[in-house]
């Protein structure tokens, strides 16, 4: 029987190529040991908290928040441009994401062990803006004919999207809390071990992002088998991260680390998958002005990378500062 459901030609070739590359990268992540576990990591011998380790974790969180912010910046620019900035409030995520990106870049390079008042304020502010944006999007969906129907969830303002910038702010805010850890003490946030808090936040963030990917890939009818990847692999990452964050600390979590790395890789290769998807629309990349707006969102998948990086930071915190 003739195959009329798979693409032919360049789309087929690039999809195969990218699929193999992604597979190879995932295998590579399994075998690489970026950082051998230090000898001090034995539950029997409580380690002395290392201030440099706290700073390292904080900067990792800045990097995660920045990755997320970059994804939001480009994604909301494209999507709100598509919506013709009909409401002036639609400029908000462009401003906040740009600010988050700026302060995150600053934080990533900042080796001081004290929080920065501007960074701290910006992060706190955009966490709130993310919540307000969610409210806006909820309102947009609700007022359409049919209310909370599949039609409006698919094509109305995406409910989960504003929380991505909120998460970026929250991760940044947590980063500042880790950074202000006094020398010789275990990083704590809200009276809880920082590694556990960051782990739970990242895990929930991944879960939410999976929800959004699932909704939009369902809208696309899962027309390409690769579209199942972001709704199958990251959920496992979220579960194993959750187990690490809530279970005993101070032990090497090789599997968790691999799943998080895999999720980070998936976020990056998702960008390329989406670019191929754009090329499959009418006129392909020659018609980029329309297809970038109507095809799969190219900047969206790295949200997974940002959250996976946060998860890896959490894992580092748990391993550096075992609390049990």
């Amino acid at each position: 029987m003739a195959n009329t459901t798979s693409p032919s030609g360049a789309a087929r070739t690039t999809l195969t190529l990218l699929g193999s590359l992604t597979g190879a990268a995932l295998l590579g992540a399994l075998h690489s040991h970026a950082r051998p576990p230090p000898a001090t990591r034995s539950p029997a011998k409580a380690p002395v908290p290392d201030p440099a380790a706290a700073n390292r974790a904080a900067r990792r969180l800045n990097r995660a928040a920045g990755t997320l912010a970059a994804s939001v910046l480009f994604d909301s620019t494209v999507e709100h441009y598509r919506g013709q900035f009909q409401n002036r409030a639609m400029y908000t995520p462009l401003v906040t994401a740009a600010m988050a990106l700026g302060v995150s870049a600053h934080g990533t390079m900042d080796e001081r062990q004290t929080p920065h008042v501007v960074r701290d304020t910006v992060y706190a502010l955009i966490s709130i803006v993310g919540l307000v944006g969610t409210g806006f999007h909820l309102f947009n969906v609700r007022r359409k004919a049919g209310g909370f129907s599949w039609q409006n969830l698919f094509y109305g303002a995406p409910l989960g999207a504003p929380m991505a910038i909120g998460l970026s702010g929250l991760l940044g805010y947590l980063s500042e809390r880790v950074r202000e850890t006094p020398p010789g003490q275990v990083p704590m946030i809200w009276g809880l071990p920082a590694g556990r808090v960051v782990g739970v936040v990242s895990g929930l963030g991944i879960t939410g992002t999976v929800g959004e990917a699932a909704l939009l890939h369902f809208r696309g009818g899962f027309h390409d088998p690769f579209m199942y990847l972001p709704v199958t692999m990251p959920p496992v990452a979220a579960i194993v991260l959750g187990r690490s964050a809530l279970g005993p600390a101070g032990i090497a979590r090789r599997a968790t680390r691999w799943w998080l790395r895999a999720t980070a890789i998936l976020g990056l290769s998702g960008t390329a998958f989406h670019a191929i998807g754009v090329g499959r629309d009418m006129g392909g990349w020659r018609n980029w002005q329309q297809n970038i707006l109507n095809g799969p969102p190219i900047p969206a998948p790295p949200a997974f990378t940002g959250l996976a990086l946060a998860g890896l930071a959490a894992l580092g915190l748990l391993e550096d500062h075992p609390d049990d």
């Binding site: 003739a2 798979s6 359409k144 039609q151 009818g221």
Partner: protein, 549 residues
């Protein structure tokens, strides 16, 4: 050099146009004329297309004949409303009766792919009770088919055509998930939704045969709104880009620009081939079996034109019912103006639907109807305004200024079968020297009652959402059916449940003309499901030896 598909056949020399690539070709098997092929299929539309693909995929030698051109969607379809007429069957036909049908735009097609090349892609299932409308609902005639079996073939047709439909359909028994998600609704479709909600009726996105995400080499719909001029993006899953490429890949041959004028019958009373006109001359193709899929006018015309001494009243016509029980569907509309900008021409024309009155029997007439959102392009719109509203000159020009604020609802309603609505042969002949069809049609009291009911309902729903300047388009009809009805016995029908003619065992009829009743939904998906079933039945009968009987 541009080869004009309207004058020169394209599927020749062992190759056929590759509809997905400009200037491309796909290999095509060719069969000699003198050696009998297993099947000749006359017509390549919603009925012929699936038969060609399924029979070829089962290993039969098959040739599909179409009187129309083999279009290349990416090159031949312009964003120009007036180029639309190249897709219609505009050969002369005589129309009479109390309500003569307007032939052409929405009831015919002349192209490889048939009218699915220009249809509005609305892909609906019959209400199950309609297959037993005489027994269960008290009108029309029963189909010799079980709705559950049709449900199975509907599902397969929906998969093959990658129908983009709602996550859950509000009416009728449960159906499997549509392969693709529904499209984003446009302004006109939202007015239907709000109007239905104001009336307390359910509404839904319309299941459409145009993809909402890429599929194979089809890109997703770009909402140009030129669906009925021929989709220039290939998002539309017409026969031309679905079953026909499958058929070619499986070894079928397509003969475009080939008008079949006569089915030949041998001394034993079996069909033995077809006489067809191509490249300016008549030819004969020998065949072991013949399937007619030319739709409700051309199918009976061909059967009647193929009369012999043995079959004086035409082939398959011992019942005298070939050409009888012609049905159309009422297609009346209510239009009005919104204060807000609507831009109803953006996207497929019928994005939302309410089947409320198909599934609700508390009404004082038989049959059902649905209504859908509308989005006629400017030329069609000005034609409707001038003919139905009698506007001309400055008055027409002024009203056309409201185009982007215009909204409308259009019904698809079930007209009941009547013996006297029919297709016969006229004395006049066409360019091939073949007698042309005379189409006689009159509305009956039930049809008129339904139309008035629908117009009232549609008008009320528009009034409830603040549409002003309302007017009714009362004269339109569209899809056809009947003229070779299927049934339970040879006295009261032309074909059996397998679409096999009672009189000639190797002659099948498989298109809308076999419908005993037409239902209140667009017929294309039912025709396709029927064709898939017929292909399966043919294979079963071939296996059991029943074919030779």
């Amino acid at each position: 050099m541009y080869d004009n598909p309207l004058t020169t056949p394209r599927a020749t020399h062992g190759r056929a146009p590759d509809v997905f690539h400009p200037g491309g070709w796909v290999p095509m098997r060719e069969y000699p004329q003198r050696e009998a092929v297993d099947f000749v299929v006359i017509g390549t539309g919603a009925g012929g297309g699936p038969l060609l693909a399924r029979l070829a995929e089962r290993g039969y030698s098959v040739i599909g004949f179409d009187a129309g051109p083999y279009f290349r969607p990416l090159e031949d379809f312009a964003s120009d409303e007036t180029s639309q007429s190249q897709l219609f069957w505009t050969d002369e036909r005589l129309v009479d009766g109390a309500n003569p049908l307007k032939m052409g735009a929405n009831n015919s097609g002349r192209a490889v792919g048939g009218s699915t090349v220009h249809y509005a892609m609305v892909s609906l299932r019959f209400r199950p009770e309609w297959f037993r409308s005489r027994t269960l609902l008290g009108y029309g005639a029963d189909w010799p088919l079980d709705w559950r079996e049709m449900w199975h073939y509907y599902a397969r047709a929906e998969r093959d055509l990658a129908i983009a439909g709602p996550v859950s359909y509000p009416w009728g028994p449960k159906r499997p998930r549509y392969p693709y998600r529904a499209h984003e609704i446009n302004g006109a479709a939202e007015v239907l939704a709000r109007g239905a909600e104001a009336m307390g009726y359910q509404w839904s996105e319309t299941p459409l045969a145009t993809v909402s995400a890429p599929r194979g080499d089809s890109p997703s719909c770009v909402y140009r709104g030129f669906c009925r001029v021929g989709c220039a993006t290939n998002a539309k899953q017409s026969q031309l880009v679905t079953y026909i490429p499958r058929a070619l890949a499986a070894g079928a041959e397509i003969r475009d620009m080939a008008m079949v004028g006569r089915i030949a019958v041998d001394a034993a009373g079996r069909a033995c081939g077809v006489h067809y006109h191509r490249n300016g001359a008549w030819h004969f193709q020998a065949a072991r079996n013949v399937i007619v899929a030319g739709y409700a006018i051309e199918t009976p015309r061909l059967l009647l034109n193929s009369a012999t001494d043995r079959f004086r009243n035409g082939l398959a016509n011992s019942s005298g019912l070939v050409g009888r029980y012609l049905m159309t569907q009422s297609n009346q509309a209510v239009y009005g103006v919104m204060d807000d900008m609507v831009r109803w021409n953006k996207g497929p024309p019928s994005l939302t639907i309410t089947e409320h009155w198909n599934y609700n029997d508390r009404k004082d007439f038989h049959g059902g109807y649905c209504w859908m959102a509308q989005g006629p392009l400017p030329v069609e719109w000005s034609a409707a305004m001038s003919t139905s509203r009698r506007l001309w000159g400055a008055a027409l020009r002024e009203k056309m200024g409201d185009y982007n604020h215009q909204v409308g609802l259009k019904m698809v309603g079930e007209m009941l079968p009547h013996l006297d609505n029919r297709v016969t042969l006229a004395d006049e002949t066409d360019r091939y020297g073949l007698p042309i069809a005379r189409v006689t049609y009159s509305w009956h009291d039930n049809d008129k009652a339904m139309i008035q009911h629908a117009l009232g309902e549609m008008q009320r729903s528009l009034e409830l959402v603040g549409v002003r300047d309302l007017w009714r388009q009362e004269n339109d009809t569209n899809h056809l059916a009947g003229t070779a009805r299927m049934g339970f016995d040879r006295e009261t029908s032309v074909v059996d449940a397998d679409c096999r003619s009672w009189d000639i065992p190797n002659l099948w009829i498989c298109d809308g003309s076999v419908f005993p009743t037409t239902g209140g939904v667009n017929p294309s998906l039912t025709i396709t499901a029927l064709a898939l079933r017929t292909a399966d039945r043919i294979c079963v009968q071939a296996r059991t030896g029943e074919m030779r009987k």
